[in-house]
């Protein structure tokens, strides 16, 4: 059965594809990191929507919390690294 939450799931998947365009196409490396940050936020939302869809929110929300912690490494640590390294050639 195609419920409204399936529709939300579909829209979020399409949004991830839109961000993927910026990650693949971005002129500088900072555009790519920005796109990946957006994708990780969308992945967290997608996991909570998936939990509501399966009526198992108490299981999926723990995984989403883990993704939120991984978001620190994905954006913050790589950003600080690139700031100190210097990326004129990227």
């Amino acid at each position: 059965m195609f419920t409204l939450y399936h529709f939300f799931f579909l829209i979020l998947t399409l949004l991830i594809l839109v961000y993927m365009y910026r990650v693949l196409q971005g002129p500088t490396v900072y555009d790519r990191i920005l796109g990946l940050n957006g994708i990780s936020t969308k992945a967290i939302i997608l996991l909570t929507i998936l939990g509501s869809l399966n009526e198992r929110l108490e299981m999926f929300v723990d995984i989403a919390l883990g993704y939120a912690v991984l978001n620190i490494i994905g954006g913050l640590a790589i950003g600080k690294y690139l700031e100190h390294k210097g990326t004129r050639e990227c």
């Binding site: 949004l15 839109v18 939302i45 929110l57 108490e58 978001n71 210097g86």
Partner: protein, 99 residues
């Protein structure tokens, strides 16, 4: 309860769609981050509050609010760090060309 969470998630998805349009259409990394950092945070707020309304009041709602708290602190900080790295490494902001 069903109408409330559907309405909140629809509002949130509208903001997320606006952020996605902005990140494709805008000209440089600073304006793209302007579209992403503000609109994405607000859309995440609406969608997660809507998901928390879905099953009534359980322990999962507390964890959803915890995710929301983490994202609200992390998203602006990550945008700031990326843009500061871009500015210090010589990316200039986009300006309109003078004729």
């Amino acid at each position: 309860m069903l109408a409330v969470d559907t309405l909140l998630i629809c509002i949130g998805l509208f903001f997320l769609t606006v952020a996605a349009i902005g990140i494709v259409r805008l000209p440089d990394v600073f304006s793209r981050s302007h579209a992403l950092g503000i609109t994405d945070t607000l859309g995440t707020f609406f969608v997660l509050i809507g998901v928390a309304f879905y099953q009534g009041l359980t322990l999962s709602d507390v964890k959803v609010l915890l995710i929301l708290l983490a994202l609200w602190h992390l998203n602006p900080v990550i945008s700031h760090v990326i843009l500061r790295a871009a500015l210090r490494n010589g990316v200039r902001p986009w300006v309109k060309e003078k004729k």
